[in-house]
Symmetry: C2
Subunit: 217 residues, 2 copies
Amino acid sequence: MSVVTIERKVLEKNDELALQNRKVFQQHGLFVVNMVSSPGSGKTSILERTLEHVKNKIRVAVIEGDVQTDFDAQRVATFGVPVVQILTNGGCHLDAKLVQDALSHIDLKGVQLLVIENVGNLVCPANYDLGEHVKVVVASTTEGDDKPLKYPAMFRNASVLLINKIDLLPYVNCNLAELKTNAFKINPKLNVFETSCTTLEGIAEWCHWLEKQVSGK
Amino acid sequence: MSVVTIERKVLEKNDELALQNRKVFQQHGLFVVNMVSSPGSGKTSILERTLEHVKNKIRVAVIEGDVQTDFDAQRVATFGVPVVQILTNGGCHLDAKLVQDALSHIDLKGVQLLVIENVGNLVCPANYDLGEHVKVVVASTTEGDDKPLKYPAMFRNASVLLINKIDLLPYVNCNLAELKTNAFKINPKLNVFETSCTTLEGIAEWCHWLEKQVSGK
């Protein structure tokens, strides 16, 4: 069976296009974040809280990736930022080509931060470079503390881990120390923030980190 | 690009092997469940509670699918049932071939129910028939109420929806009625159970349904 070879070719082609995206981002002095997680970990909620926090400091644009529906793009659009929806129609991840196509629908002039919200999937998006500067993986406390070990590629390839729904810790079977230990086992360089979109815990710290990256461009 | 054609060939080959698996299951009078969900929705916890509930009534075997680690297989093995671990090593779903290989490691004689716990992924496993009788999709309340619309293929192909972590409803942003409405929009034939592995709510009802399917074989 030649599937492995084909997969390699697909990834090589993707890497070429990601390089092209990277050059576009560089030309515009953009900082680009690829947000990844399981379905329902709170990527869109974190993005909403982030937009509230940085909207007077940073000019942001958003690319929303979904299998179906434009619910997330609608939520983000209420913050008055440019947003483009990519529908994968069953596809399990964004790739560099889809992002390239989406970029042609955004006026990047003046934009400082581009957030790409990937399809909710803790496996496939790990392998597809979109040209981003950092992958930010969101893992919610409700998912338990073993996910970094069970889905290592995503945590290995990420620069930031947002441990979300931290307010639900008293109610769920998740040992926070164990979750962090497991994450650092896979990737000792992870920047970790504990966040809640309900209590806003950790949102300012995460946004401060993000602002520093943007101003460093 | 010929990826679509190749994907179709992969799926056709998978369907052939699923048919072979189905014949094996039929020969042994087995009822076979394919459990699917996002990472951390509680598939393994539900399986544990199910095994506790049915262990004196039904002879069960389990195939555990994971990207990495045999944590889930270890958890299930403590219930004294035969269990085989499949590691996909980065692969995002089980397929009929992996299940066929796993079957060669289980003595199916006398087994009445085979539970296959798929990789945590709400996208890719929807398309891969393993030869099972039913797909059971687990969606936890912590993931919100929009998931059936955002990941429709999985809910369309499932026969049962377990709405899990129902005990966390007071703490999370999930409208239970809306979640059910969304699920029935995608698949009006879904059998829905509301479950909690903490309070055991709904576990008896779900097990009763399962026992009926097994005795109907």
